[in-house]
């Protein structure tokens, strides 16, 4: 029909005029975001980690295969007994080798490992956070919108059952069946983390659907889908940003904890595995340069997710 | 006799960006003993802030910028056996007590004012429905109020008094053992009034006492307030946006707009001899039940924001009678009777007399005639945003 064509904007002027206010709004949103100091700090941290994940080679002094005293692969010589005894080596700046955060017991540079591991953490955080939002938010919306019907009842009982699921044993069984891969660990984390998301969004939806603008949309003839996605969802987005951030941070830490327990894909590089190694090799009290960086990196990444989430909540919330 | 005398009271709310909301700006009025005084105005005119500030119940970012609140009564420890301020306290320059024994409430600390709340000044809050604690019996809440403020009372006496108070406001005394949720809306309101009267205060501050009530119940509560006043001689300061309720119960009132008092005086004068463009506009803009054919005219524009307002008259942007002077400075209160008889402006000296903050009350007759004409209000160009 004619309207359909009209909607797609046949002349450029109309399209420009349609989008202008939106771009203007984005600009205003950015201005408001930058008013939050912690939001900006979070963003800076996240940008650094993102760059580390995309182009680690630019930042890392060595590759992850680099070994102290010997250098980059191909590895042709072996370490002398003296050299082995000096590992893990504290930070060294050129003498006998360059490793600003020292090395681990195998002679790999901590800084390089740290930088190369960022990718893994980013992947797990974003994937688990997005996955749990993608499951939790729509289910919460549907459950809330059809509150007190069988749909709501079914979703809520399912959530109750999932809440009863013990996280660790479940994950151990999951990886036992499907193998220890990063993807499986993400699934394991997301399976439990969407629950809070769903329940909070449902509660919010229950109250939002009583607002008179939702009734007004019904009177105008809006379909349920339109009401859910145009009128209710934009108003639950602020809290779902917070949950996305929380879930992302939670996933990064959960993965590290799992790795610490030995549940990790040890072919990958990750901060959790770095921590697991220092434990299993017994250097916790001896090699601070090995212990602190992955711990701090984990903390900073989780914090940056939180900072960004809270700032986004404020930016997207019109009532401030 | 004057019970409460508010002089040049200015209240501000601090805002993060360093500006301030001038919620009330150099407001003066006085309440006599045994009278009902009304503060009437639209939302955001500062009436509730003003009332809260009298007893230091402002929000955290609100503060009294300047002015005095002279109240005829004083702290228990400053009073002699008659309840009047001791001479030694009056003579003490550090204590905010005036020669006639009035205490400046604005200068008291929060701890000091707590001793005066309820005992001397009681409050019926805006949401009286929520003022009752759901987990205590209604009677016990009144007893607690009595015991806290009059520790010498025995428990049995307090209980008797609570039941007596409930009965006086029209609640069966044995309902004292009920919880708030067992009360209907009107009964809750009555119970809150009984609670406010627990320590027989001199002043009752009622913030929108009937707004949440249905009209028949409102009617009964208004009757109840009138009866209480006759019985106890308590002064009532009523805050409301409902002009018809105010017209009915108030002896005198102040019409507030944008944090300023625009007109004040006896209720008959305000409605019968209206002398301010804002009040004239208000009168035009609400329907009455008694007249069949009326033409309502609204005041164009919207109320001003009170963030760092400029010095001009707060109403001038919506006022069809605004002149050059109005932009320079907000007008002082002029004496209306004087202006009418002599045709000259003289600043009001008596807070009780009919006063109006308008530079043009020397041409009052003209204003009143023009205000009745709809075109006066619609023809001016208003910046709506």
């Amino acid at each position: 029909m004619a309207t359909q064509q009209g909607d797609s904007g046949t002349d450029g002027g109309s399209v420009r005029r349609r989008w202008e206010p939106r771009i203007e709004r984005l600009k205003r949103g950015w201005d408001r975001y930058t008013e939050h100091r912690i939001g900006v700090v979070g963003l800076v941290i996240l940008v650094v980690f993102t760059l580390w994940s995309i182009i680690p080679g630019v930042f890392a002094p060595h590759s992850t295969e680099w070994i102290a005293y010997i250098g980059e692969p191909p590895i042709e010589s072996r370490l002398t007994a003296e050299q082995v005894r000096s590992l893990p080596h504290p930070p060294a700046f050129g003498d006998p080798f360059f490793a600003p955060l020292g090395t681990n017991a195998n002679g790999n540079g901590i800084l390089s490992l740290l930088i190369y591991s960022a990718k893994n953490a980013m992947y797990i955080g974003l994937a688990a956070g997005l996955l749990s939002s993608l499951v939790g938010v729509p289910l919460g919306l549907i459950s809330g919108f059809y509150g007190d019907t069988w749909i709501d009842e079914a979703i809520q009982r399912f959530v109750d059952i999932m809440y009863g699921l013990p996280f660790l044993p479940f994950l151990i069984v999951l990886v036992a069946i499907r193998g220890i891969t990063t993807t499986n660990i993400i699934i394991g984390i997301a399976v439990t983390s969407w629950l809070n998301n769903c329940i909070t969004v449902r509660g919010e939806t229950l109250s939002l659907k009583e607002r008179s603008y939702v009734e007004s949309a019904k009177v105008a003839g809006a379909s349920d889908t339109r009401i859910i996605f145009r009128h209710i969802m934009p108003n639950v987005l602020p809290i779902s940003f917070v949950f996305l951030a929380q879930d992302a941070a939670g996933a990064v830490i959960a993965q590290a904890s799992l790795a610490y327990l030995g549940l990790a894909d040890f072919t990958a590089n990750s901060w959790g595995i770095m921590l697991e190694n220092i434990k299993s090799q017994g250097y916790i009290f001896d090699a601070w340069w090995w212990l602190l960086p992955p711990g701090l990196a984990l903390m900073l990444m989780a914090a940056s997710f939180y900072f960004i989430g809270f700032s986004m909540e404020d930016v997207t919330n019109p009532q401030r | 006799m004057t019970l409460l005398e508010v002089n040049d009271l200015s209240i501000r709310y601090a805002i993060d960006d360093g500006s301030a909301v001038h919620a009330s700006d150099r407001v003066s009025f006085s309440v006599d003993r045994g009278e009902t005084y009304g503060l009437v105005g639209e939302s955001g005119c500062g009436k509730t802030t003003l009332a809260k500030s009298l007893v230091h119940l402002l929000d955290d970012n609100g503060y009294i910028e300047s002015g005095n609140v002279w109240f005829d009564g004083t702290l228990p420890q400053w009073a002699d056996e008659n309840g009047d301020a001791k001479q030694s306290v009056i003579d003490d320059p550090d204590k905010p007590v005036r020669e006639d024994g009035k205490t400046d409430l604005a200068a008291l600390t929060n701890k000091q004012i707590r001793d005066m709340r309820w005992r001397d000044i009681a409050i019926i809050p805006q949401s009286a429905m929520n003022a009752l604690n759901p987990v205590y019996k209604v009677g016990d809440q009144i007893v607690e109020a009595i015991l806290r403020h009059e520790p010498q009372t025995t428990k049995a006496e307090a209980h008797d008094r609570a039941r007596d108070l409930l009965e006086r406001v029209g609640i069966e005394p044995d309902r004292a053992d009920d919880y708030a949720h067992q009360f209907s809306g009107g009964m809750k309101q009555r119970a809150v009034i009984a609670m406010a009267m627990a320590c027989s205060p001199d002043l009752l501050i009622a913030d929108e006492p009937t707004t949440a009530l249905d009209v028949i119940i409102q009617d009964r509560i208004l009757e109840e307030l009138e009866k209480l006043q006759d019985e106890f001689g308590v002064s009532i300061l009523v805050i409301s946006h409902d002009i018809s309720v105010m017209a009915e119960i108030c002896d005198r009132m102040a019409v507030m707009y944008g944090g300023k008092v625009m007109e004040s005086g006896r209720t008959e004068d305000i409605f019968g001899e209206t002398a301010n463009p804002y009040t004239l506009g208000l009168k035009n803009s609400f329907p009455t039940i008694t007249s069949a054919d009326q033409d309502l005219v609204s005041i164009p524009g919207t109320p001003p924001t009170l963030r760092d307002p400029d010095p001009g008259c707060r109403f001038r942007e919506r006022c069809p009678f605004a002149i050059e002077e109005c932009h320079a400075e907000h007008p002082p209160m002029y004496d209306v009777a004087d202006a009418e008889s002599t045709g000259r402006l003289r600043e009001a000296t008596d807070q009780r007399a009919h006063g109006s903050a308008c530079y043009r009350i020397d041409e009052l007759e003209q204003l009143r005639t023009d205000a009745l004409n709809e075109d006066t209000w619609t023809e001016q160009r208003i910046e709506s945003r």
Binding site: Y213 | L296, P300
Partner: protein, 462 residues
Amino acid sequence: MDRAEDREPLVEIDGLRKLFDQSQGIIDTVLGREPQPVRAVDGVSLDIHKGDIVGIAGESGCGKTTLGKMLVKLHEPTEGAIRFDGNDITEMTREEEREFRKRVQMIFQDPFESLNPRMTVYDTIAEPLKINDMVGDYDARRDRVKQVLEDVGLGPAEVYLDAFPDELSGGERQRIAIARALVVDPDFIVCDEPVSMLDVSIRAGVLNLMKELQDEYDLTYLFISHDLSLIRYMCDRAGIMYLGNMVEQGPTDDIIDDPKHPYTEALFDAVPDVELGEERRRANATGEVPSPRNPPSGCRYHPRCAHIIPPDGWDGTQEAFRRAYQFKLKVRRGDLSAESAESADIADAEALVEHGLTLDIPEEYRSETEIESGGSKVDIARIDLPPAARETLVDAAGAVLDGDTEGALATLDEAITTPCESRRPEPQPAGTREVACHLYDEPGFEELDSSTAGIAPAAAED
């Protein structure tokens, strides 16, 4: 005079009922308690004629908003029919419903809630157009939105189009809500307390705008409000609701100048007025609105009514009967019991009767003894009770003092009866209007009414 009768009604409401099932708690289910639905609207019939502004007034909880929401299909009626332009709106096909949505709109009470805070003014107003595929392309839509904005007095429209609701004042928001309702060019708009959240100085502008738009857009309004002076200002016809029932309906001026139903009378007496001078009469009604979950039998208003009808053969005054009836109600509610008598120091039956015969009404309607005692007793000698009734009351009071409330109630139920309690009043034509009250259904009155009702009062008015 009643021009309305000559025209086809636009909306016909017939025996409309809406019961809200309150979901039961587990305890109720275990104890096998019957669910008590809230009877929000309980048998309302009303015709709305094209071009009229019909007001619905009543206190909170009387069902006026539920009625309005049923008219725009936000609630489905439990029983009864609503016909819009001849079609039953409860049984519409999808296509018919689409058409209906374009012709019927609603304006909500709170402009701070009825606009989506995340949608710009343009998006808000254009939404009904988009949903109903009404106006061609983006540019045409934008022009239409601008035009409506100018119509509701928000010009120049460009200033507002991209604004969000939180940048606007209450008055501007409500104008935008009106624009949203108008944009589809509807025939009928339900207005639910459209100005109650607005400041007084702004209200008149919105009300006048609504009146102007009525002419311009050829609209019919249902105007719901608790504020009777607004109803008087706005409406040609009005209906007064009480506990889900329409107690009186007819031309607004007639209802207000000469209320026929005792509830209407009390309602108007209770409205304060700025007119100075003479003392206003207070509302002569006892108690408060009972719960709509368990409304009184017969006439919903009878427990509070000042004009409750004594049974045939009652020798005393009507006032005496009202007091005797209140006595019965107090026993039934448990307000009069052995314990309460004890705590009020009442020892003998006579004293309890004197206590129970009091009325909880404004002072001007009370007896001298009541005023002196602060409303706690009456002088039975001064009340014109028939001797038999007096004996019944004393007997019942004696039973109450003995703790036998059931026995007391049985005695009272037999002697103190009223048609208001036993029969539900049907809306009766009375003059220019319909009144649901037994006072107006004496046989003689009915006969006179059907033939001459339309003429007689009109002549009187001229």
